[in-house]
Subunit: 745 residues, 2 copies
């Protein structure tokens, strides 16, 4: 591949000029630097090697490697040795965090026909790592409280707020019950949180075959999907309040850090919660009485899904070891030649629930290949202008522990120095996907135009863009085609970018490939291992290579630029769409409440009464007041103007690197140090995981959630706080424009 | 109840004045006649008796009573005796029609693991009529061709046109295969028709538990839903071409009628077809290879649904008796005192696939109670102005035989005399529903305001209207509230109104109650019987009573009016919505084809290629031309104006009965004697069952289907023909307005 690269000359500007339009220099680069950069990037993209990617995965997923396990530490040490062998300056940072593991797990159905849940994923002969019983964590939910409860069961679908409204309308209460809820839609930690809020005393989360079992494909080992005894481990900590070590909120859990007592921890569940397989769930679901559930509540078990309650009682008993365990974050540093105090950061976690070939090694292995590739470039004379940090986080699975504690520990330095954070996690075969800060949207578009999709040989950018056309609604297609940058989504939570973007306001991106295989079938089970991944996922590792090529190019292009290549036009335009959305949301909620009140007055609920069914009509509700959205409208317009001026000024002054310190603060301007309502750790006023969705993002979260949660009194206050954050961004951009336009470098 | 009625005085105008607004006379009635009518109607509505409704059902469903069975004739004779006992002039009309029954039914899966389908619905101890094996028809599809085929299986979802497009995109052909298709969405006769058109050699139609089995409720006998061995009998004749006796299209199958040879019959299927249970379907579905089907193709069996083909071959062998059997239509006549040549017709079939308590006796039993009630009224002195006909059709199940042959036989008289036809079929518990001619929309609204819903005690009209609010999309709610008449749907096919409205252009309505119970669970099985109905449906027969009250009031109010109470404002407004729809349809199809062509050119299908899956990109398609919708727009406007003038004139001349002969021709004006493209039997240019949906209506069918089927060259021709029919209606209404406004009676 190196020979081919030699054919490119300084005149070439893009490996895929066809997608990039006319040959202009890379954003934030002088023409000369741009041409050089393109050459180095091309060299880099020839480096990642599918055989090495495969071998990295084999090695890292050979044994279970959860927090506190011997192989977790072993992997960290191996990663360290690898990074050092590439010629990089690497080290391990150790933290100490709460990590509960189960001592007792018991689930049985009492009553006429007794049933005792198996709670076990059996080893499969064909799958060589599935029998490592001694090292495997059993199926459990981390940060569930201890508990021993006996109660009837009630089925609550996905356990989202709307599901409880539905149950209420059907006259079914979960008070005093153990809820049985299916995985999916909301983040799993939301399920016991809402169940407890509604008075449930226990929570069982099962994997319905409709969501990741036989309904979606052949089950393992014939196919990739979850077998009948498979269960999904996972954290149920209340991370939308704060992630990381529950005993050290907001500060780094370095050895010796001051701990808040366990009893005072807010983020541990209020009720015991456990994941179960659909084989274990079936007798429980069959025991339910009550009415047939609504159509969209039905799974794919061959049963009649009912709400419950059950006549038979279930008994759930859970006891945990509440130990603190060491974490091993592995970090490599490539110092910047020109701007050593400007840090570009890359991360992927290395810990898993069990063997974790897909989650996270399919992302960690490419990250390691990137580091190797950059080590090679250094040997060939490449000198990045900025400092690059390559991080391999420990403890992501329980609670984003490794990244959160590291960010909290180094908060002050990071606030000063961090330019951007590029995250990945499990990776698969198919289409590129990215979510992140919209000041990086244009940058992501620019990089993906230069990476080749291994299957279609078109650029990764073009493939994603074309596929988005085919998925879009008719009305959206024109907008998609007319916009030169493909939109990226916003970041909620679910991986290690959280502390970077939400706590410290560091521009972040989460990226990866997927969509062609059914990727989630073994999520957090013992079968997410090398055999499974190499039979049913990115089996020849060409998308692992594409990830390394994409993320590595991003790291280089961000590190080498003369001026940090943020672009604020896309950001301002996206903010405008969010403002339109929250205004519409308020109007929609007002008209929905008005409509429902009218229906109550008209007698619609009386008309719907059925003597054979229980139906509870909703109460009349006060209409929300009208809100003063003017500050947001103003801020959005101001930002649009400021961004346009900035982007124009940059085009004329691409070498004016004195603007970089201001740009580093650009995403920080979006923070409000008092944080979001009821969760001060989350300070970004533009992006946050939803308080009741967990994974799902809420943009302009303070405003949006005040409206959604009907906290009418708070809405105007949150509009003002959010508008102020956006205005701070405009002020900063105006100053940056000044800097660009003034004389000197 | 009669005592209460005595309290009403001549001044009362409506039993539910609260729904009716200010007390104005009934439409088409003088004030005096209106007041009298209201009194008679109130007396009538006190007549239907739930104990008699129950006993009628017990008697009529006591044994299997399909066409040609002893109990079918027995029931006809019993109905005749009942009608005579009410003092009515009644008779039986006999027809002679083709009715195939099975001699041989065989289905097996050959190959590694042989499976032989059971093809049997077992008797249940608890259900006393389920064991009448000797009299039960086995599970089969009537008018399937004979056949003996051995071929691989392919799953085609519901077997609709879009399903075959999906298969094509996935590179799967049904050529030479036996298709396995699930019941639902399209009418069952469409399934083998489309399968044969795509080259299949056989067709198996199974009942997926998602559609009417355990997914929808407890299975029989614990609940109302289809058990694992239950199968749905039913006709697969190509009725969208013409219904009725296949050997006498367009003419009455009276004994001795000229028959076309069996070999020349168009409406018998081209391939053998048989219904099966999900227990029999499961091994067949499990034998399928190929890819996972799309999400909306998946049923509720605990399997991975795949497209096929299967490696194992299936063997299907069917031989039928192609006998002609006698039909017994039972008819009662109440002669009109003033306008004996103006006929108001009521019908419900009496034949069933097996015992048929739900289908059709839950509708036939109320019809019989209506006849009894009217007999009582006659004894009390009521004299209807028009002639009433009460019909109990035979042979509806195989092919609407009894109604079609009767209509064809009496076509000339009916064209002259028929005012309106009121049909019902199976009836259930819950909300009123009606579809029909929109010249009757206002009339239906007016009658249902005067019938009490047995559960909520509000009017049937009000309940239905309020429930429609709760189901409507936000945008539709305002329109629903602002419109004084609740909309009725249009008539497709599926019951005995077909020949009336589609062949002869007689204003028709199909009405009934339902929606609170899962009604379809035993559809066309041996378990649709008295035990099932009285345990899981309208168990106390109060909705049977409501049906008798509603339909009986309609018959009386239509028969007693001075001027036939058609209203054309609603009709014109509805026609306008259809014109808007077909114009939008053409635009949507044009932009969809344009968008797809763009996607092909852009490389979207290349971007979607997956080396692990077969994907066939669609070909570029020529864009449809623009059509001349001007004649339809003009006709719609002309009709709106003519209808407004007519309705105004009627309000001022409610006693001008000389207009009635013109009104009788109003719906006839919508006929075009050359019929719809490829199906001349269907002559109504406004309403028809879809050529590829069967049950589902197509309004302005000649235009709409030309567009849908991309018969671009025919569109302008069909627009002109349809517009001409609407213009004929306007001309007729202008003449009627003249008649109303001229001097004299």
């Amino acid at each position: 591949m190196c020979k081919m690269i030699a054919l490119f000359t300084l005149a070439a500007t893009s490996a895929f000029a066809v997608d990039g339009g006319p040959a202009t220099p890379l954003r934030g680069y002088t023409s000369e630097h741009s041409a050089l950069e393109i050459q180095w990037e091309q060299k880099f993209r020839a480096m990642p090697d599918t055989a090495r990617l495969r071998e990295n995965m084999r090695r890292l997923s050979a044994r279970p490697h959860h927090v506190g396990s011997p192989y977790d530490k072993d992997n960290a040490e191996w990663l360290l040795a690898q990074l050092k062998s590439y010629g990089l300056d690497a080290k391990i940072e150790v933290f100490d965090t709460l990590f509960p593991t189960p001592k007792t797990r018991k689930l049985e159905l009492l009553g006429p026909t007794k049933f005792v849940a198996k709670l076990d994923e059996p080893a499969l002969k064909i799958d060589p790592t599935s029998d490592q019983k001694k090292e495997q964590l059993p199926t459990y939910n981390a940060y569930s409280s201890d508990g021993d409860v006996t109660a009837p069961l009630v089925y609550v679908n996905y356990g989202a707020p709307s599901d409880y409204e539905q149950l209420e309308a059907m006259g079914v209460s979960v008070k005093g019950a153990i809820v049985i809820v299916r995985y999916g839609q909301t983040w799993r930690g939301i399920k016991p949180k809402l169940a407890a809020q509604h008075g449930a005393v226990g929570c069982l989360i099962y994997s319905d075959p409709r969501d990741d079992g036989y309904a979606r494909g052949d089950i393992y080992p014939d196919g990739p999907m979850r077998p009948s005894d498979g269960a999904q481990r996972g954290s149920v900590m209340d991370m939308p309040v704060y992630p990381g070590d529950p005993q050290t909120p907001g500060i780094g859990a370095v050895p010796g850090a001051k701990l808040i007592p366990l009893a005072e921890v807010q983020t541990i569940t209020k009720i015991p919660v456990m994941p179960i397989s659909y084989e274990d769930a079936k007798p429980l679901l069959l025991s339910l009485g009550g009415e047939l559930v609504p159509e969209n509540w039905r799974g794919s078990l061959p049963i009649t899904y009912k709400t419950g309650p059950s006549i038979a009682k279930a008994h759930l008993a859970l006891v945990f070891n509440w130990d603190r365990k060491p974490l091993y974050d592995v970090l490599a540093r490539i110092p910047g030649s020109t701007f050593p105090d400007q840090w570009v950061i890359r991360g992927n976690h290395h810990d898993a629930w069990v063997n974790g070939a897909g989650d996270p090694i399919s992302g960690a292995s490419p990250e390691l290949e990137e580091a190797r590739g950059l080590g090679e470039l250094l040997k060939q004379g490449w000198r990045p202008q900025r400092t690059l940090l390559y991080c391999f986080w420990d403890g992501e699975e329980p609670a984003l522990l490794g990244s959160t504690e590291w960010v909290e520990t180094h908060a002050e330095e990071l606030s000063k120095h961090a330019v951007a954070y590029f995250n990945s996690d499990g990776n698969g075969r198919g289409y590129f996907r990215a979510e992140g800060s919209h000041s990086l949207e244009n940058f992501i578009n620019s990089v993906t135009k230069d990476v080749e999709d291994p299957e279609t040989k078109m650029s990764v950018w073009k493939r994603e863009r074309l596929v988005s056309f085919s998925h879009a609604a008719t009305e959206a297609q024109t907008e998609l085609r007319s916009r030169s940058d493909t939109r990226i989504g916003a970041l909620g939570s679910g991986s290690d970018y959280t502390a970077f973007i939400d706590h410290l306001g560091i521009a972040s991106v989460n990226l990866g490939f997927g969509g062609e295989d059914q990727g989630g079938g073994q999520y957090h089970s013992i079968y997410d291992d090398f055999y499974w991944y190499t039979h049913f996922q990115d089996t020849d590792f060409v998308y692992g290579r594409a990830l390394a090529q994409t993320a590595g190019t991003m790291m280089m292009r961000m590190a080498d630029a003369d001026v940090i290549p943020f672009q604020f036009g896309d950001f301002a335009e996206t903010i405008h769409t969010y403002v339109v959305e929250v205004k519409k949301l308020a109007d929609t909620m007002r008209s929905q409440i008005k409509e429902r009140n009218t229906e109550i007055a008209d007698g619609v609920y009386k008309a719907l009464e059925d003597p054979k069914k229980k139906r509870i009509a909703p109460p009349v509700e006060a209409l929300p007041p009208y809100f003063n959205f003017a500050p947001l409208d103003q801020a959005s317009d101001d930002l649009t103007a400021a961004a346009a001026d900035y982007d124009k000024a940059l085009a004329a002054n691409a070498s004016k690197s004195s603007v970089n310190p201001e740009l580093i603060r650009a995403e920080r301007a979006l923070l409000d140090s008092t944080g979001l309502p009821n969760r001060p750790w989350f300070q970004n006023m533009i992006y946050a995981p939803g308080f009741f969705t967990g994974y799902g993002v809420k943009t302009l979260p303070a405003v949006r959630e005040a409206v959604e949660q009907k906290e009418w009194k708070g809405v105007d206050v949150e509009i003002a706080r959010t508008a102020a954050a956006i205005e701070r961004e405009s002020v900063l951009l105006r100053a940056a424009t000044q800097t660009l336009s003034a004389g000197g470098q």
